[in-house]
């Protein structure tokens, strides 16, 4: 990295960070639409189809409407801006206003370390990989630390609302998030052990060299996905906002844009955890069956480099959409867990599995280094 001055660095981070964050926020808006559309289809409904469509006239018949509902997120946003923001009189004002910010900010900060493409040159600075904060060698620890902060927003929102539903939702969410954080953290060890680095780009490169870690480490991949679902309080782990018992949980006293911030945090968390899952277990920006680095070095032209980078960004986005679809599918398929079932799953199933997985992976790596597998293969296969 050859950053010239602090001012230039600040300017570039502002632009790159702004563009990526803005893209993800737009992505959040369309994730809500995706969720409504997919859920509707899974329940034999049509979903939102009025706001914005491409009319295609057909002779003698009713016109065909393409892409029905693609302006729905914009309509929702405009409606939210025009609504009154109610502050109930019993709330603790400072904390009440701070909580939505505290919920959204960690999620945006996690975005900083996610790699979107391999090495590029932007504004005269050589990025080792395209991310808001490239080259951070403890990226995964950073992600763990930041996801731990996320719980504060929810707890403080519940506590400051001064409503029993909200308090119960807040306490439930704390216990749930810390329970699943253990399984999540221990599962993160497995890709780190194989790749030998905490840097997310190194983990992707390691997957390009061997295979996607979902293939090598299916249990870890599944445990991570389930723990991530619980961490972001998605169905079937959405106990903190169990509508039937708590009406809406920690955000019940919020209205207008401050409520939308919790909504935004939830959906951006979906995108961020999807991105993490993709980076750690689905090869990140890796384009399957193509050796990008070889193409770039053999062609040695700017156009090819840009095309490959664009392909990589497209690749990670498609993988994230696939992961989002899985999450929505799970929401449509599973009923909500009971609280004791939720705790049992976290402590008595996922945690032992991830501990065992760490040990098994460690033994396997040692055996592979000692050449046991190679001699086995040559003894039986060769």
């Amino acid at each position: 990295m050859n950053a010239e001055s602090a001012g230039q660095l600040a300017w570039i981070t502002l632009v790159v960070g702004g563009i990526i964050t803005f893209a993800v926020i737009t992505g959040f808006a369309y994730t809500t639409l995706l969720e409504r559309k997919v859920l509707a289809r899974l329940q034999h409904r049509v979903g939102p189809n009025r706001a914005g469509y491409v009319p295609i006239p057909r002779r003698g018949k009713k016109e065909r409407r393409l892409l029905g509902g693609f302006m729905q997120p914009a309509a929702d946003a405009v409606k939210l801006f025009m609504k009154e923001d109610i502050t109930p009189i019993y709330v603790d004002n400072v904390v009440y206003n701070l909580a939505p910010m505290l919920t959204v900010m960690p999620v945006i900060l996690t975005l900083a370390v996610i790699p979107w493409a391999s090495s590029v040159t932007l504004f005269g600075i050589d990025y080792p990989y395209l991310a808001i904060a490239p080259g951070l060698n403890v990226a995964l620890l950073f992600v763990l630390a930041i996801t731990s902060i996320e719980v504060y927003g929810v707890v403080l929102a519940g506590w400051s609302s001064n409503s029993k539903y909200a308090v119960l939702g807040g306490i439930r969410s704390t216990a749930q998030m810390i329970s699943y954080e253990l399984a999540l953290g221990l599962t993160l060890l497995v890709p780190v052990m194989i790749a030998g680095s905490l840097n997310l780009n190194d983990i992707i490169v390691s997957q390009q060299e061997t295979a996607w870690f979902t293939i090598l480490q299916l249990p870890a991949s599944i445990v991570f996905f389930v723990a991530a679902l619980a961490e972001m309080q998605r169905a079937p782990f959405d106990l903190l906002e169990a509508e039937q018992e708590l009406s809406s949980g920690y955000n019940v006293e919020y209205a207008g844009m401050r409520f939308a911030m919790f909504f935004m945090a939830e959906y951006m968390k979906m995108i961020v955890f999807s991105a993490l899952w993709v980076v750690l277990f689905l090869g990140g920006y890796d384009i399957p069956f193509i050796n990008e680095a070889a193409i770039v070095s053999s062609a040695d032209s700017t156009v090819v480099t840009i095309l490959i980078a664009a392909g990589q960004v497209l690749s990670i986005i498609l993988k994230i959409v696939f992961s989002l679809f899985l999450m929505i599918w799970i929401r449509a398929s599973w009923p909500r867990l009971r609280y004791d079932q939720l705790m049992d799953l976290g402590w008595k199933t996922l945690l032992p599995i991830s501990l065992l997985n760490v040990i098994v992976t460690g033994v396997m790596i040692v055996l592979a280094e000692e050449g046991v597998f190679n001699s086995l293969i040559s003894a039986f296969g060769g």
């Binding site: 960070g17 939210l80 609504k83 945006i108 080259g135 951070l136 029993k164 680095s197 460690g362």
Partner: protein, 118 residues
């Protein structure tokens, strides 16, 4: 190495803009007509009985205690995992012992019934 954190620092400074801007925009655009019924607590439509900030179930606290033990120990595993390829067999054995002790702690809590939701 510190240079890598500059990006995080700058991004930390600009990240509050994203949640603050919509809230501010709504404050400018939205109507402001409060009245006492609108501003009362939502709950179930009637006034709350008693204090909201009450004692809660002790089980949450027990889970938090076990969490602290595990989380602090799990942090030690990250440097080991990152340097796993360069470790000697003795160091790997020591790590295995550490993980077994970790699992033993879980087994103890489990056997004592701390993981039962009553």
């Amino acid at each position: 190495m510190l240079a890598d954190w500059q990006y995080i620092g700058i991004f930390l400074a600009i990240s509050p803009i994203f949640p603050a801007a919509p809230v501010l925009l709504q404050w400018l655009l939205g109507p402001k007509k409060p009245n006492s019924i609108k501003n009362s607590a939502y709950e179930c439509g009637i006034e709350t009985v008693g204090d909201t900030w009450i004692q809660f179930k002790v089980q949450y606290y027990i889970y938090a205690l076990i969490f602290v033990v595990f989380d602090v120990e799990a942090v030690f595993l990250f440097p080991i995992a990152a340097a796993y390829g360069q470790l000697s067999l003795f160091a790997i054995g020591a790590t295995a012992l550490f993980i077994i002790l970790l699992a033993d702690g879980l087994a103890y809590a489990w056997a004592k019934g701390a993981l039962e939701w009553i």
